[in-house]
């Protein structure tokens, strides 16, 4: 005789009870709290490093010594008009990008591995093949991870033949390695990178969301397609009030939330924007929306954008405190 059918919710709850009855391994909640504190602290550390460089910086800020650089952008640091010919065409297929001028292929660039060691150093290996003396600029490659985007030293190399180039970044996490077209904020290529020490590299899934800051703008990508672009066009700080002007545009739709912004002082304290301004800016169909953010009781520091519970997707330095 068949038993009465059980409601599915009841059946699944019975199975959930089995999981409960099996017991769970110990969980260290204090470790999670410490991890949260470290995430907060990393913002402060980043701010200190950024602020020591001072405002008015045009390119990137030195971080932790050595030849490795971070992408702390000043609002005046948009990519300079390119001296590089603009008629180059970049086409990515799998792990390789073919660079052509018109119908003439100039070079093939392949990221063959990108590994992270236990100390968080990222090492990239890239093979460049060219018979035309192709010039490649390593600082056009940005490692976009969970925290700050990372740049490497501005090393220019000319490849004639086939050459493997290795370089490193400090403090990276699993993320995307973006090759930004020289003098623009457009992508020449992008790779998923940082699968631990395996060095595995792969194509970016079409539905994966990630962020890339170039100059004063942060672009939100899904796969290789830009979805939205958020720009901070000014950051100012008076004796007690900080202000920033932001604009956002999106191909489809996007909502920029004011409380995703944080003003982090060089000395450590962090501030949310004043709640009596706007709460969110909605935008769609390539329209542009703008807003001003104000922060009370702030000192010299930097503006952070931290959507999706991330540590940072964008960082902008404040100028020195007036007076």
């Amino acid at each position: 005789m068949n038993a009465e059918p059980t409601p599915l919710s009841e059946r699944l709850k019975q199975l959930d009870a089995v999981t409960q009855a099996q017991g769970m391994p110990a969980f260290d909640l204090d470790a999670a709290v410490r991890g949260g504190e470290r995430r907060q602290q990393r913002r402060s550390i980043a701010g200190t490093a950024a602020a020591t460089v001072g405002a008015g910086l045009v390119a990137a800020a030195l971080f932790a010594g050595g030849a490795h650089w971070n992408a702390f952008w000043d609002v005046d640091s948009d990519p300079a008009p390119s001296a590089v010919p603009v008629d180059l065409v970049y086409a990515q297929r799998g792990d390789s990008v073919t660079v052509s001028r018109g119908r003439d292929p100039l070079a093939r660039v392949t990221v063959t591995s990108a590994a992270i060691d236990a100390e968080g150093h990222g090492t990239v290996a890239m093979r460049v093949e060219s018979d035309a003396g192709f010039v490649i600029q390593l600082s056009d490659f940005i490692w976009a991870g969970e925290s700050l985007d990372r740049l490497t030293a501005a090393t220019s190399m000319t490849v004639d033949g086939s050459q493997t180039i290795n370089w490193t970044y400090d403090g990276v996490s699993e993320g995307e390695l973006a090759w930004v077209r020289p003098g623009t904020d457009r992508l020449a290529g992008v790779w998923s990178v940082g699968a631990g020490d395996s060095g595995a590299v792969g194509a970016v899934a079409a539905d994966r969301s990630w962020y890339l800051q170039v100059g004063s703008a942060v672009t939100v990508y899904e796969g290789v397609e830009p979805q939205a672009r958020m720009t901070v066009s000014s950051v100012a700080v008076g004796r007690t009030v900080g202000a920033a002007h932001v604009s956002v545009t999106a191909h489809d739709r996007y909502e920029l939330r004011a409380d995703d912004f944080v003003w982090a002082e060089e000395s450590g304290p962090q501030h949310a924007p004043l709640a009596d301004d706007w709460r969110s800016l909605s935008v769609r169909d390539d329209a542009v929306n703008t807003g001003d953010l104000r922060f009370a009781g702030v000192g010299e520091g930097y503006l952070l954008w931290a959507p999706d519970g991330r540590e940072t997707a964008g960082v902008w330095l404040s100028p020195a405190v007036a007076g």
């Binding site: 068949n2 038993a3 059918p5 059980t6 409601p7 599915l8 919710s9 009841e10 059946r11 699944l12 019975q14 199975l15 959930d16 009870a17 089995v18 999981t19 409960q20 009855a21 099996q22 769970m24 391994p25 969980f27 909640l29 470790a31 999670a32 709290v33 991890g35 949260g36 504190e37 470290r38 995430r39 907060q40 699993e174 998923s192 699968a195 395996s198 595995a200 792969g202 194509a203 970016v204 899934a205 539905d207 994966r208 969301s209 962020y211 939100v220 899904e222 979805q227 939205a228 996007y254 909502e255 920029l256 939330r257 409380d259 949310a272 969110s280 999706d308 519970g309 991330r310 540590e311």
Partner: protein, 193 residues
Amino acid sequence: MRQDLKDRFQQMAQVELPRLRRFAYTMCEDWHRADDYVQGALERMYVAWPRVHGIAYPGAYLRAILVRQMLNEWRRPWRREHSTDELPEAGYETTGDADLGLDLARALSGLSTRQRAAVVLRYVEDRPVAEVAQIMGAAPGTVKRHCSDGVVRLRHILGENFIDDRLGDLRGSSSGGRPVSELDLDEIGRGVR
């Protein structure tokens, strides 16, 4: 963070932790990975806590962080989910008993990640469709589809001897449960769909 906020965070986490961990385990069938995701979600919430400590349903917030983190990370080429027609062996359907070693995670292992999330949130945690949609960062219709497809797959594992007691909700008659407007889940997830 102020000590009182920190204390409140720890109290909230203590309350939410058992179910959140089981939810994460159900999603990935591995306690180590599940706890990594739970820790990551708690860390992110800790960072946001000064501005979100007043939200009514922190458990929903935590699940939203966790689900979106999982989905986005599993889009990595080396972690990419491969759909399979291989389901766990059937044969549990005639008992209804819980003593055959089939737990929830194993029962759901033939479902995709999204189907698993939707089914657990709807059928085990009794959350309304609209709330599940907010947690998953998806449209309500998409959640209904994931549930419906997940139930079809579950019939391969659990057999036919159950009734889909959420079917009415899936057809859109009622969301049931608490008002979704109270969730304040718009604090999270922009750009992660």
